[in-house]
């Protein structure tokens, strides 16, 4: 059972020994998404001239480090964002899908430039006509190659998307009719990334987070929960 359920805010203030104790209440979703969106570590798959443009985005003139994504990772196991920059051939597509599979969830994909998005001017037997044949793409960047401004714009749009992510969304499990009283209070953290619900906490674990969302869903005012 979570400690949070046992504690009242007034107890925390009292225990701190100061009446000026600062407490910030938030939701798991808000904090988790905030952390994720400000630490996007890209795996740059620089395949052609878009890779040069991505390098310009990372360097001091455009400086994408301002948005918390300066750490370009060249290991997929440490990366959150697969940034496919350039012309993908079918032979390289196997490498790209392998890199994508090695990345840990949550992960995002940006298709940078005309070639990665549609094959570009290479309407040819050897070039993949859009990387979404192989991996799910979150954002496409137009341009041949795109300017660094476009890359930054899309990176910020990706941050907005992560901010809207409902993976951490808290929802209450519907109790079975006639279930025990304590089961009726149990909440389950669920998410719906890529359309498939995933459970972050099992139904047997009492994981109750105080907050207006839960309180309202139980028909109480927020103050009563605290």
């Amino acid at each position: 059972m979570s400690e949070v359920t046992q504690t009242k805010i007034s107890d925390i203030v009292e225990a701190s020994g100061s009446s000026e104790c600062s407490i910030l209440l938030s939701t798991v979703r808000a904090v988790g998404n905030w952390a994720r969106k400000n630490s996007i570590w890209p795996l740059p798959l620089g395949l052609s001239c878009c890779g040069i443009e991505f390098m310009a985005t990372a360097m001091s003139r455009y400086d994408m480090a301002r948005f918390g994504m300066e750490v370009a990772r060249f290991s997929p196991r440490q990366a959150d964002l697969l940034l496919v920059a350039g012309t993908l051939t079918y032979k390289m597509a196997a490498v790209m899908t392998r890199l994508y599979d090695q990345m840990a969830e949550p992960k995002w994909v940006i298709s940078m430039g005309a070639c990665a998005s549609s094959g570009g001017m290479y309407r040819s037997y050897s070039v993949v006509q859009g990387i979404d044949e192989f991996v799910p793409v979150d954002f496409y960047i137009s341009g041949c190659p795109p300017r660094p401004d476009s890359v930054l714009n899309v990176l910020m749009k990706l941050q907005d998307k992560i901010d809207r992510d409902r993976t951490y969304q808290l929802s209450l499990a519907t109790p079975e009719p006639g279930a025990a009283a304590d089961l009726a209070e149990q909440a389950v953290l669920t998410g719906n990334r890529h359309g498939a619900p995933i459970a972050l906490a099992t139904a047997n674990e009492r994981f109750v987070v105080p907050g207006p969302q839960r309180a309202m869903s139980r028909g109480r005012k927020p103050e009563e929960t605290l």
């Binding site: 079918y90 032979k91 037997y125 050897s126 006509q129 044949e133």
Partner: protein
């Protein structure tokens, strides 16, 4: 739009200018036809039979000092049947700057003897020619695709290969 589907090359027994005596002596044992006009950047060319293909190169390399295999590729003339492919090798004498482009013809499904025992650089060049045209090279140590994925279907540089619409996943 006209397509080049047959070779415009004309051959004769007349030795073109620029062929040294050493080269002529090295090629004397073989049945060689010379191209009428020096083409391909002015390099004199000749046509030999497929059976003579490695022997011609061996003679040029060992007797006439053509030590460098500059290029090795093929051309497809789909209307010139049955021998629709021209396989060509460009050799250079790096001491005299003399170059000869040797050609042979091969039918679809046919094969040409390898040159890998003469030049290690012929290894990848022949793999590329196999990959793009489907021409087999007898005696090659590992004749597999070098550019395309191993499961690729088709020979992209043949003229009857579709220019677009071949992709497996999207038209």
């Amino acid at each position: 739009m006209s397509k080049v589907t047959t070779s415009c090359m004309r051959y004769s027994d007349r030795v073109p200018a620029g062929i040294s005596e050493a080269s002529q002596k090295a090629l004397a044992p073989f049945k060689v036809q010379w191209s009428e006009h020096p083409v391909h950047g002015g390099w004199p060319g000749c046509l030999v039979s497929g059976a003579d293909w490695p022997k011609v190169f061996q003679a040029l390399k060992e007797q006439a000092n053509f030590e460098l295999l500059v290029d090795h590729t093929a051309v497809d003339y789909p209307d010139r049947l049955p021998e629709r492919f021209t396989v060509l090798g460009l050799v250079s004498n790096i001491h005299t700057q003399e170059r000869i482009m040797v050609r042979t013809r091969v039918a679809e499904g046919g094969s040409v003897p390898t040159l890998t025992h003469l030049w290690r650089s012929a290894d990848w060049a022949e793999r590329e020619t196999f990959d793009m045209f489907g021409i087999r090279f007898e005696g090659h140590p590992e004749l597999t695709r070098i550019y395309m994925p191993q499961d690729f279907d088709g020979w992209p540089l043949r003229r009857d290969f579709p220019l677009q619409g071949h992709n497996r996943f999207r038209d």
